[in-house]
Structure formats: structure tokens, C-alpha cells
């Protein structure tokens, strides 16, 4: 890791962890998920809720917690921009980017790269 990456991470990680309980997947899609981090979902689902969401809107796995995707849906309705991005089909996670800076990956375009066999690959 370069010095520049270390510096960016030193700012990005504590900030995003404090605000969004960020899991540092390195390929941030918060604007598409109503600013609710989908990597907090126990199934790490990035395309929507599973079928196990409880009637009260809480998580199948952690009954005391609100479903990440219930929050995402509600959050997306409040967003002035990107409201419709929740309908975008998200490509598979690149697990190689775990713990790296999503800000650097965004600028470098590394987070936009999809597997070659993905239909909508960038």
C-alpha cells in the first residue's frame, strides 16, 4: 500500500464507519442503496432484501435489528438524486477490493470493472 493510500484510508475508514457502519468493501454503492450500507446485511445482499424479512421489518438473522434493505428502501425514497438507482442490477462483489479505499477505487475506475462475462460489464 502506498503512502497516499494509507493517508486516504486514515480519513475514509473512521469517517464511513462512524456514519454508515461501513464494512470497507472498497466498491461503495451507498448512493444506490438509500445510504444504507448493504454489506451490513448478514447475507451481504447488494440487490435488495431477501425473502426472510420479518413482518415488523426486522432482520431474519438478527430479530432485534432493522433490515438493512428496509432502511435502504426508505432512504432511497428520501434521496433527491439517485432515487431510481435502487433498481440498478449490481454486479458481483469483487472480494479482492475488501479493505481498500473505495474513494481511490472510484477515482481510478477500479470499482467499476465487472467480470468479463457480466452482461453489463464496464
Amino acid at each position: 500500500m502506498t503512502l497516499a493510500e494509507r493517508v486516504v484510508l486514515a480519513v475514509e475508514k473512521p469517517l464511513k464507519e462512524a456514519i454508515w457502519d461501513c464494512r470497507m468493501c472498497g466498491q461503495c454503492i451507498l448512493h444506490s442503496t438509500g445510504l444504507s450500507c448493504p454489506m451490513r446485511c448478514p447475507k451481504s445482499l447488494r440487490n435488495g432484501p431477501c425473502g426472510g424479512v420479518r413482518a415488523d421489518g426486522n432482520c431474519e438473522v438478527y430479530p432485534e435489528k432493522r433490515c438493512v434493505w428496509v432502511e435502504a428502501w426508505e432512504g432511497s425514497r428520501r434521496l433527491p438524486l439517485w432515487r431510481d438507482h435502487i433498481a440498478h442490477l449490481q454486479k458481483p462483489v469483487n472480494w479482492q477490493l475488501q479493505a481498500s479505499s473505495s474513494w481511490i477505487n472510484l477515482v481510478s475506475g477500479r470499482d467499476a470493472r465487472a467480470p468479463a462475462g457480466w452482461k453489463t460489464h464496464a
Binding site: V61, P92, G117
Partner: protein
């Protein structure tokens, strides 16, 4: 052999599918014994993938055993237990073994099952799995981009639960699945017909009905205890109190009959909802119940596939 299920749906038939009881036996006869009960009563049979996060005979093996006997399987695949390599390997394996119909889903969480300490995988999600399967079929590529020498011919399906929050997101979520490659969808057990009906209205408004065949699940409760179990223990199920109360009021010896009556009523109500292409009957460890409901609901005999059925239609 192309999917017979796809042919019937494209022909405009109201289809009937059912779930095969999951097996824990290494003897194929035990799988066949359950499957044979369904012969002639349903058009295709779902082979579950470690249902309820309990280990069972693999869906791929069960599906192949059905193919051997001339019964048509629908192979369920969860994203819970396998990464993208294993899922693609099993997709190709299914094609090689004559399994045409596949259904992708997230899967009940490991904590619902008998190995709660297991690591959950979810390397790709159910929606991405749909697109991966469609990519293998339509473009003859793996997710990596590497070419397959020949494309499989899957009939690809999804699941949806119209009863789990956020309710407003469920129809757009189905739309995402259709865009990813789902040509049919099996809906979670319907007990609350008005909620399902509203969901179908929203699905129609999104313009999805010409693009996806909707098959609604109907559960056949065998006892008040069974209904309470579904209400309290099965993730994602919403069982109304009135249904449980109706079974509890019935003497135990007659509860199975009452369960069949409930299921028949549900089939008839669901069939009237515009855009519903079939029912998926679930009698937990009770294939005889499936046959009795199909019969009492007027769904027998099952139609034969006309030779023209593989021409045209969506999916």
C-alpha cells in the same frame, strides 16, 4: 429435451408444480417413492436446496433421479452454500444431466437450520446468479468471460415474497430479477390473498406480466401444530391467525381434511387473480395431500404438451 414446464406455460396452460420432500437417504428408491406419488398430478417437481438450511440430498442429485424416471425437475439453487465457481459448475452439471428448470434464491439463513455455526457464503446473490445462468445460456460464457463450447438451454426462474417488507419494493425487485434473466417466478406461500392480489396489480403496472410467468405457492397444512410451526419457525412466512384458529377449532382427527379444504379454497381464489400462471403446491412430507388438492381443485388431469408449444412466447 427442452423444458416441458416452459412449453406448457407458453401454451397458456395453468400449470401445477409441487415440492418433493427432501431426502436424507442414500437410496434412490426413497426419493423415487415420494416422487412417484406426484406423477400425473403435477407438471414439474421442485428439488429443494438444503431447505430450511438443513442438510439433505443435493438438489442436483434429486433432480437427476427425477429425470431418470421421466419426471420433470425444477432445481432450486441458493446462494447460501456455494461460491460462484461451485454454482456455475453445478449449473453446467445440471444441464449435462438433463435438468432444464432452475430457480435461484438467497436461501434461508444458516441460523434457521441444523448447522447454525456454518459460514454463510453469498459470494454472489440470487439476482446475480440469475444473470450468470442467463449468460451461460444466451452468450455461452462463464462469469469470467471464458467461453463454453456449447450453451445450455435453461428455463430460468426466481422466487419472490410479496409479504415481506418493504412491500413496495417487492414488485421492483421482481422487475430486477426479470431483467437479470428470470422467465418465471415462484411466489412464497400465499395465505393472505388480498396482499398478493395487490402485489400482482403492481407487477402488472410495471409491465412485467408479458415477460414473466407467475406461479403462486399454496401450502397444505396438515394440522394446527403444522400451521403454528409455519407461523413461528419458517423465515418469511406470514400465516394469518384466522387460519391457525380455523385448524385449532377442528378436532385433531379431521385437521388434515380441513387443511386440504383450506388449500383448495386458496387455489381457487388465487386462480381468479389476473396474471397468475399456475400454482406450486407444498405439502410438507405429504405428497398425497398435493395430489388430493390438485384433484379437489379441478386441476386434473394435467394437460399434454402440444408439439407447437416450444415456438414463440416469452422466456
Amino acid at each position: 429435451m427442452p423444458s416441458r414446464l416452459a412449453g406448457l406455460l407458453r401454451q397458456g396452460q395453468f400449470v401445477v408444480t409441487a415440492e418433493l420432500s427432501s431426502s436424507d437417504s442414500p437410496d434412490p428408491q426413497d426419493t423415487w417413492r415420494h416422487a412417484e406419488i406426484l406423477r400425473g398430478a403435477v407438471d414439474a417437481v421442485n428439488c429443494t436446496d438444503n431447505t430450511g438450511a438443513h442438510v439433505h440430498l443435493s438438489a442436483l442429485a434429486a433432480a437427476h433421479l427425477l429425470v431418470e424416471k421421466g419426471l420433470e425437475p425444477i432445481m432450486q439453487m441458493t446462494a447460501r452454500d456455494r461460491n460462484r465457481l461451485a454454482l456455475q459448475a453445478d449449473l453446467l452439471g445440471a444441464a449435462a444431466l438433463g435438468v432444464e428448470n432452475i430457480v435461484a434464491m438467497s436461501g434461508d439463513d444458516v441460523t434457521a437450520g441444523d448447522h447454525p455455526e456454518a459460514r454463510r457464503i453469498y459470494d454472489i446473490d440470487s439476482m446475480q446468479l440469475l444473470e450468470v445462468a442467463a449468460g451461460m445460456r444466451d452468450r455461452a460464457v462463464y462469469l469470467s468471460g471464458r467461453k463454453l463450447p456449447r450453451a445450455p438451454s435453461f428455463f430460468i426462474g426466481a422466487v419472490e415474497n410479496p409479504f415481506a417488507p418493504p412491500l413496495e419494493f417487492r414488485p421492483p425487485r421482481l422487475q430486477k430479477k426479470v431483467n437479470a434473466g428470470a422467465a418465471f417466478v415462484q411466489i412464497q406461500l400465499v395465505f393472505d390473498v388480498p396482499v398478493f392480489s395487490r402485489f400482482m396489480g403492481m407487477v402488472a403496472d410495471l409491465g412485467l406480466l408479458p415477460r414473466v410467468f407467475v406461479i403462486a405457492s399454496v401450502g397444505i397444512p396438515r394440522s394446527a401444530r403444522g400451521a403454528r410451526f409455519m407461523r413461528d419457525k419458517v423465515p418469511g412466512l406470514h400465516v394469518p391467525e384466522a387460519l391457525v384458529a380455523r385448524l385449532e377449532k377442528t378436532p385433531p382427527a379431521r385437521q388434515a381434511e380441513e387443511g386440504i379444504a383450506i388449500a383448495v379454497e386458496l387455489v381457487q381464489e388465487i386462480r381468479r387473480i389476473p396474471g397468475v400462471s399456475g400454482v406450486h403446491l407444498i405439502g410438507i412430507k405429504w405428497e398425497e395431500g398435493v395430489v388430493r388438492v390438485a384433484e379437489a381443485a379441478g386441476l386434473l388431469p394435467r394437460p399434454t404438451l402440444s408439439p407447437l408449444a416450444t415456438v414463440g412466447g416469452h422466456g
